[in-house]
Amino acid sequence: MPLNVVPLKAVAVKSVALKRRGGWVPWLAMGLLTAAAWGVAPFSLLGGLSLSLLVLTALKLREAKQRREYRLVSLLQLVTAGLLGAQQAELGSSLLQGLAVLVALAGLLQLELGEVTNLGKLLRRSGQLVLAALPMALVLFLLFPRLGPFSDLGRLGQFGAAATTGLSTTLEPGTIATLTQDRSPAARVAFPGGGPPPASQRLWRVLVHGQFDGQSWRSLNAGTTEAGMAGADTAGADIAAGPDPSLGAPPTPGATQVWLSEPNGLPEVPWSGSGLPLDRHLKRDGQGQLRHDGSVGVRKLYSLAAEPALATWRRQAPTAQDLQMAAGTNPRLETLAAGWRRQGSGDAQAVEGAKAVEGAKAVALAEAWFRQQGFRYSLSNPLLPETAPLDALLFEQRQGFCGHYASALSALMRAAGVPARVVSGYRGGTWVVPLGGSAFLDLRQSDAHAWSEVWIAGEGWRTVDPTLWVLGGQTPADDPAAASVQAASTGADRAGPLDWVARQWWGLDLAWGEWWLGFDQRSQERLLQRLLGPYRDWAGALLLVAVALTLALGLAAYGWLRRRGEGDRLQQELNQLLRSCARGGLVPMPGETLGQFGQRLRQARPLLGPELEDFVGLLQQLRYGRPGAPQRQGLDRLSRCGQSLRRQLRRSPS
């Protein structure tokens, strides 16, 4: 066997006319893209564009025959992956998109390299290319100046909405009861740099129901705002601030809440009621609702920074809307409230026209009254009558769930002349510390909850939860639903094995979200300030130098990876051993075969004897042996043998 001579091929290299087939690799990329497109809202502009492109690419692939057509298919696949990346940023989708990019590149490589048909080999080559290009891509990602959106076309995903299960803009008895029985995930929230709030403060608001017609509470922001009722909404526009996105704005602190919200069919998303939106898609309104202007049918990943002062919406003065009461619809409730009004005003004689009772006093009176009535928390309630439903609830039925009691309390407050409204969202959640990724609070649809907000002069909107008054005298064992509410408020865990697995994944998902969503125009500005300080104007030069360096690094890394990953393993093993021998002054003579060199080596280093014999025998067997022998095991044995020989040669170089 020649030791280090590259043999001249006996047969001339065969040329083939260039008409290559793409094989099934492009179809694999199509499959991955289809999986990654799962959940994209088809009627949104970007969603529609991505899905159309996906279909067109599949059709093009079906009819492709020439190399240039397959190339176009690969490019379309990359663009589709990019479009999907603009809509779905969670970990699972991002992984699928990344894999699709890798396979699309493998398809391109196959077209150029021709004879490589092994998918593993193609993927390895594709991975090597991506690894080599990644440092430069990351430098550009971190340092290339970010621009803000060109126009309001940023609301690319806002057409249409596929409604899914979740909270409703109309709060009627029974609506939330249905949700309580649903254990599907609602949202996850991580708190970077800190733990979760105490269990008693875990109220996550979504919708504010300010319009009351005697039977149901409606959200004013449901898109059907009537003229004359728009006070709350327009007031909200003023505070829908978030930090100034201009580059001159002072740097804001990092995210303190990172949310991953499941599709709920609404633009409103859960939040704690306090925090500065870090996402341009997020807007707070004057009622304390947080809206995401992305597509409503998809998962949303968003983050909020700590807000130093009291949230603006808490101080937003009530409007006439917050006192509106369909007079006469619940006469007994109104009579009760009138009594509080008299007590609050101190005028026992005046029944009609008494001034409104002070908010805090009214709440105290209501709490005392609720606690005395012996109300019972239950999800299985008879339907309330159409006329005077709240009278029936408070004075006859005396059982209900959070939606009932929040509706009743808010109506009582309004009847007593105190501005009040109903808020729906989630309560509690389970604190999960996964094995990897971020710890997070797991909110389920069964954590859906409703409570009241009452205007207290000098304080603002106060959160009042009458359900807790009701539960005060009842043990959780009496009612599973009540147990659910109490468990949520104490953070007790009720997870099964599948939940455990899902939570580990969500932990990683949120960690990804924190990192991935955390980098934006402001983060880039902070990074440049930290890197360059007073030499901020040199950012362009820094970018150029960094690109040049990473290009050189990428080329070197690619060359190294290629040399390492490809080539003749047997020759590599032999070369390594020959190098070790050469260090000890043992070099093959011209014309010497491996066997002869092995004999000479054995004479010079008797200790190497048996292992050297093994090595030479294995090498010759693998090189010239019958095909079908277990090649991989043989290679592994040869590698181990070579390692041991090299070690011995190092120990005794002469």
């Binding site: 091929k9 001339a12 006319a17 260039l18 990359l78 004879e115 290009a133 430069m136």
Partner: protein, 312 residues
């Protein structure tokens, strides 16, 4: 989306000359392919989407595509850099038929996606070549007899991603001997006796071709119509071609038919000589200013055909 450089650009770039072509910075050219421009457009589109939606996913993919393109510029160039090409010794071939032209390609590290083209032919792929020397056979179709050089040869690659095409053009230095295209037809036979007499008397060649046919075989496509047995065809016995055989065992000399255009006459003579060689007969060649005495065997045939290829 073609993978070649624009023809107008190639025309303006110098053609490499010399016995050995060693590819390097001075003789390699690289430009983006049509697909490369489209790739750039796709990346910019993703950048616009990323800016508009403030999405990190699209922005990162855009930068990854740009980085791959920049990297690809060097990788594509690196495929051909250091490649050394020299000609082998080409075997003679017939005009109008596919001729094999040997090259020796010496690769330093590795070369992927190597392609070649000899105008006006199509692009041919070679694939990946490891380190070492590799014989490479170019196939081309010479149009004329004589010592012909195919080319210029274009060596190119678009590997690894097809975003750039890197190429060089080389005027192949070694000529290949091309015999006339063998085409059946009338030739002139000069009987040995006549030839001896005439060459002795006047030094001129003369004589008639064989007019006696000895056998028939089914007519094949390409057979000369002058050999068609028209009488038998008229009798309804099918298309038959007459087989002529020299009635005398004495070898004869063959010369081009003077009534035909010279090139055509040489093509017919080439065909006749090949036929005689296949039949194992002895034959000689009589050309203006050159006579080759009758003989047999491959080397004799090659001598005769070379004389035909190079005669003026």
């Amino acid at each position: 989306m073609g993978s070649g450089a624009p023809p107008s650009l190639s025309r303006w770039l110098p053609l490499q000359q010399g016995e050995v072509l060693k590819l390097g910075l001075r003789n390699l050219y690289i430009v983006p392919t049509g697909f490369g421009w489209l790739w750039l457009g796709g990346a910019l589109f993703l950048q616009l989407v990323g800016i508009q939606t403030q999405s990190n996913g699209s922005v990162l993919l855009c930068f990854l595509m740009l980085a791959l393109q920049l990297l690809s510029l060097h990788l594509t160039h690196g495929q051909l850099e250091g490649l050394e090409v020299r000609c082998g010794q080409p075997e003679p071939a017939f005009a109008g038929e596919t001729a094999a032209y040997p090259l020796i390609v010496r690769v330093q590290s590795a070369c992927e996606g190597l392609e070649w083209r000899l105008p006006p032919g199509a692009l041919h792929g070679v694939g990946s070549l490891g380190p070492g020397e590799h014989p490479l056979t170019l196939e081309w179709t010479p149009g004329r007899r004589g010592l012909q050089r195919p080319g210029p040869l274009r060596l190119q690659t678009t590997a690894p991603l097809g975003l750039f095409v890197c190429w060089s053009r080389w005027q192949l230095p070694t000529a290949q001997l091309i015999y006339p295209a063998p085409k059946p037809g009338p030739v002139r036979q000069v009987p040995m006796a006549d030839w001896r007499e005439r060459t002795e008397a006047a030094g001129a060649l003369g004589g008639e071709g064989s007019e006696e046919w000895q056998d028939l075989r089914p007519h094949r496509r390409g057979d000369s119509s002058s050999r068609m047995a028209w009488k038998l065809l008229a009798q309804g016995r099918g298309a038959q071609t007459k087989r002529f055989q020299d009635p005398r065992l004495e070898p004869s000399l063959w010369a081009p038919d003077p009534t035909l255009p010279p090139e055509e006459a040489l093509e017919h003579l080439c065909d006749r000589l090949c036929q005689l060689h296949r039949q194992g007969q002895s034959y000689g060649l009589a050309l203006a200013g050159l006579q080759i005495a009758p003989d047999r065997g491959s080397s004799h045939r090659d001598r005769c055909l070379e004389a035909l290829a190079l005669c003026h």
